[in-house]
Amino acid sequence: MTGSEKLEEDDVPPETTTEDLLRLGDIASGSEQPPAAQPEAPVVFDVRDLSVFYGSFRAVRNVDFEIHQHQVTAFIGPSGCGKTTVLRSFNRMHDLTEGARVEGTLNYHGIDLYGADVNAVEVRRRIGMVFQKPNPFPKSIYDNVAYGPKLAGAKRSELDDIVQRSLEQAALWDEVKDRLKKSALGLSGGQQQRLCIARTVAVEPEVILMDEPCSALDPIATGRIEDLMDEIKAQYTIIIVTHNMQQAARVSDRCAFFTTEVNEQSDTRTGILVEFDATEKMFSNPSDERTENYVTGRFG
């Protein structure tokens, strides 16, 4: 992590409004930059000293890193290390869990996501999420994809195009174009997960959070999803939580390794960020011994 410019960003007062967030969304979706995987890609999330609590229990502490635009960032680490907990703080999913609380700074394009004026619904429109278990709605394939755009106020006449474009982006169109009106629950697990991706891209988010999206899928379906991520990362910023280190190595540009720290007094475990770097470096020449032990399979 580099030092001086970040410090300046920290000094920006967090007095932001929903309008700021709206404006930023426009800027973000309007920027058609080439998918530069260089370290200089613009910062989307700036995370400083982030901790997540469930009641008085601190699940994750002191996370620091930046997420860059049009890159795939992978969170890896053993079970219970807080990867998913951190991921869910990016689209304010913790709002739904009673007693969950986020401390520290989580800036999205310089705006504090947990600021008093920020509307969680607007946040989730820009920062989509794909879940561990495919969760299509018990509706038709068409209605699943059209659900988000309809909420966002898309006109009926636009829906057909949006549905087709989204399903094409998710590499599912050819398989389902003849049965759009059939129930989504009749699809295979891999198809359902791609439908969930189509449903997410249909609302044109800037960021897509993926919480172990392939853990319920077979290797062929997993391969499809990974190819898909590679294709769409030119348009989206992707953060993926995965248990599968090969997957992290294959799909990600940057990688964050989390582990757990046992608190002997209370016998609880808190997740900590060990290392965050370019994926290549993390897997070939990590600077922390714990990362090396994990990626080489000696631990976890």
């Binding site: 018990p138 659900y147 129930s183």
Partner: protein, 332 residues
């Protein structure tokens, strides 16, 4: 898991012995058999009780059925003093009161259930549930007395004025809102609505609680507000269960006796005026059975059989509806 100790390995039987004791009835056989028998008896007792109810009501009601025939089942005049026992006015009143009750109870119950599953913070949830359940513990006759002493005079005042006066002047629809004395279908229906709200609420609440968190988060992650999530995910998911809950409430409303007997006005008639007086099957039975004899008594017991058939039909329809709606939801 700790590693298997060497001793543990040594204690295993030789391969040739494994499986030698799998045959026979063993230890589990007899207790399972006894349990099965007990469960079977319990199940059969329900059928036996139903059959006995049907048998005795048919038997005691038979004189009315055979002597009056279609005049009984399709007659539109229930005037015991002049020997007219046409049950349709009572069937009509029973359904009208139940329908009014369900119409009022559905939105209130769904609202309370949504409030309790999606809005109330966890620590207040138990208290809220207890309060609604307390409503179910209030005796029927107390509801009836409250209806007579407090609600009916107020409704009489309201029905006779303003909005309802205005409704009464509209052609066709106006027939539904005629003269009122404060007692009648509407008053009874409103009180019964209060009485069936707890059961509809608690079943609906349990149905809402079974909606997978995964599905709800899916909607929210797409930028749905809480209400959009409820409308798009929770309600469709629960449609079968809500139907079941409403039918359960309808069943109760059809059979409600004392409160209705106090509030309905005891005037068997088929009238479109929802604010006017009427009579229901259970209310009529409760009112008259102790003083009736001969054909009148037989006609009243026959009414019991008719009500029995109506509630069974409602329940069967409810079950089928739930199955159909679930199937449509899953898209099979």
């Amino acid at each position: 898991m700790s590693a298997v100790s060497p001793q543990g390995l040594a204690e295993r039987p030789a391969p040739s012995e494994i499986g030698s004791d799998l045959g026979g009835r063993g230890r589990g056989g007899r207790t399972d058999q006894a349990f099965r028998l007990l469960a079977l008896l319990a199940g059969l007792s329900i059928l036996a009780i139903l059959a006995l109810i049907a048998f005795s009501t048919i038997q005691k009601g038979w004189p009315a059925f055979s002597k009056l025939g279609t005049d009984y089942f399709f007659g539109t005049q229930w005037k015991p003093r002049s020997g007219q026992f046409g049950i349709l006015p009572l069937v009509y009143g029973t359904f009208v009161v139940a329908a009014i009750a369900v119409v009022f109870a559905i939105p209130v119950s769904l609202g309370i259930a949504m409030f309790m599953t999606e809005v109330v913070p966890r620590r207040f949830r138990f208290g809220a549930i207890t309060i609604v359940d307390l409503l179910a513990a209030v005796p029927s006759v107390v509801f009836g007395l409250w209806g007579i002493r407090i609600l009916a005079p107020k409704l009489d005042h309201i029905f006779g004025n303003g909005f309802f006066r205005f409704l009464g002047d509209i052609p066709i629809v106006g027939n539904l809102f005629g003269d009122s004395s404060g007692r009648g279908f509407m008053t009874a229906g409103i009180v019964v609505a209060l009485m069936i709200t707890p059961i509809i609420t608690s079943v609906t609440r349990e149905v809402f609680a079974t909606v997978p968190r995964n599905d709800k988060e899916g909607a929210l992650a797409l930028g749905a507000t809480r209400w959009e999530m409820i409308r798009g995910v929770v309600l469709p998911h629960s449609s079968g269960g809500i139907t079941g809950a409403v039918m359960l409430g309808l069943g109760r409303a059809l059979g409600e006796t004392i409160a209705v007997a106090l509030l309905i006005g005891a005037n068997p008639q088929i009238s479109a005026n929802l604010l006017g007086t009427g009579e229901t099957i259970p209310a009529q039975i409760a009112r008259q059975l102790s003083e009736a004899n001969g054909l009148f008594r037989s006609a009243l017991i026959g009414l019991g059989f008719v009500l029995f058939i109506i509630t069974i039909a409602v329940n069967v329809t409810a079950r089928r509806l739930v199955v159909v709606m679930d199937r449509r939801l899953k898209g099979a």
